[in-house]
Amino acid sequence: MALLEIIDLAVEFKSRAGTVHAVDGVNLYLEAGKVLGIAGESGCGKTTTMLSIPRLLPRNADIIGGKILFNTENLLLKSEEDMEKIRWRQISVIFQGAMNALNPVKTIGSQIGEAIFHHEPRVSRADVSRRTSELLDMVGIASARSSSYPHEFSGGMRQRVMIAMALACHPQLVIADEPVTALDVMVQAQILNLLKSLCAQLGLSMILISHDLSVIAETCQRAAIMYAGKLVEQGRVEQLFNQPAHPYTQRLLRAFPNIYAAKKFLVGIPGYPPNLVNPPLGCRFFERCHVRLEQCKTSEPQTITVEPDHLAACHLLRETKQ
């Protein structure tokens, strides 16, 4: 039974330039206790898709279709009050760059305590302070430092605080948006190891959003690749990295250096993603694709099962299958 299932999700943004079709027909699932990775370029819709789950999208965004089933209940039909009970207690988020948004005039401990108080108003003060120290301990910060201020912490330590805050109300699902971007390599490894061990230790499920395929390869069991608002490929990481089926995934993988492979020069993908105010009629990757067919320009590719649990949306796959 999947913990989370996203069916045909579509999200639009109203902007001055017109309606942006940011996410279009995304289907995805996550099993309990697993880590799912979402990758893609900036603006491909990965954060929009994931913030639709706790319904934390900005005001100019509209979820115009689809279902999000969490423990078999459709979150899109819930009232705002009900969502408030689900946020943090069942689904929490480590926002991108939020470690730089900690309140500079409040101690770390009081900011974690605030998260607990907000979602569980009836909890006692003693309980909060005990839980705060436990949380800090869990993310590898001495609990005596709960009276420190954010400026006394390094970037890596502040990110640990953000993780503690996300775990404050024992969620089942944590959505981590670029949790290691802008951190040093060594700190990056520390944080990824911490997230992995917390998932194992607490039986957490996690969605890891990252533009870095190497980070996803090392942390996740399944992964999905998005391009221009569409999900182009998903599968177990072994399938996705060893036999990528979609031309975009193939090209994206060649843009990452691998120090243990032969030194081939990286290949970029010429061009830019399409404008999502007027998305192209056919395949959205058409303009940049190196193996495109005539039909790709006008007809949109359907998602095809390449192997069990490995899906991709490309006309070429149907051609080769027949």
């Binding site: 370029e41 900036s42 390094s154 890596g156 330590m157 040093d184 390599v185 060594m186 700190v187 990056q188 490894a189 520390q190 990824l192 190891n193 533009h211 870095d212 395929l213 190497s214 980070v215 390869a217 090392e218 990481v237 072994e238 990295f241 060893n242 090209r251 994206l252 993988l253 843009a255 990452f256 250096p257 691998n258 120090i259 243990y260 492979a261 030194k263 020069f265 990286l266 290949v267 970029g268 993908i269 010429p270 830019y272």
Partner: protein, 335 residues
Amino acid sequence: MNSPLVRVENLQVMFAMRGGLVLPGKAPKMIHALDGISFDIQRGEILAMVGESGCGKTTLARAILRLITPSAGKIFFNQRDITLLKGTSLRNLRRHMQMIFQDPYESLDPRQSIYELLEEPLLIHYPDITQNDREVQVFKALEASGLHPAREISARYPHHLSGGQRQRVAIAAAMILEPEFVVTDEPVSMLDVSIRAEILKLMLDLRDLKNLTYLFITHDLSLAWMISDRIIVLYLGKIVEIGSTQDVIHHALHPYTRALVSVIPLPQPGIQKQQIILEGDTPSPLDIPAGCRFLLRCWKWRQLNCPAVCKEKEPILQAYGCESHKVACHFAEGA
């Protein structure tokens, strides 16, 4: 062997700590940003400099470009001592060395059109050339950086362009004076991966075309491996290891380098690798420990039961194995 384009000898940079109460008769606290740095950069070479934030990478680049004046040591460019150059001679030097910055969203003046941006260095360094010649050069630089059609692009402002295009403009601006030496400070870390490779390719093509020499600053070891000829590893203002890219990545000698290499994420799932995770962050350059600077985070020191020599004596950078591969560790050995 030809003489090196850049030579750095025993370079030291110190900053006075700002703030706090300065009592009479009490010297302000000094930050030792760089200490005893010596190396060469050969003509046509790409030398990568890696290390964590705060290790002194950017300070070193700024000192070489003479954007700051070093506290001690010497810098030679084309065998000429440029350490204390001033005024006109310093300005004349500037056109031979340029810098490409990390963030093309901040490094380009939003109120200047692309044309004005590229014209400005020509106006400063070659005030005598005609407007026609300037235009030709601006368009040539844009085309060479892959921005077509140049005339149309040059009329735009930075906010009209994407991140990749902006970085191409920054490259064009750095190249317009035809420098010999270019320092690039994390030139692709702000860009999407699909754009990254294109920008790197452009930099390599320009090197081949114009026999450029690059100092490539990055925290990404796999990127350094991809594009450089040699790598310098900095830790807390000191070189801990220097050598050919192959040697530094695949036969790392210093415990710090070995840890850095071990945590490079790979785009390949299921590889079992022995990660060496260092605890904590780089210590502050305000109170540098005596002996080896890496001591407090050194896994090897603990493995060897904490030998006293590491605490007492600062290791010097010396050749190990071959002349070109140097390491600063009392217990250097390969993996």
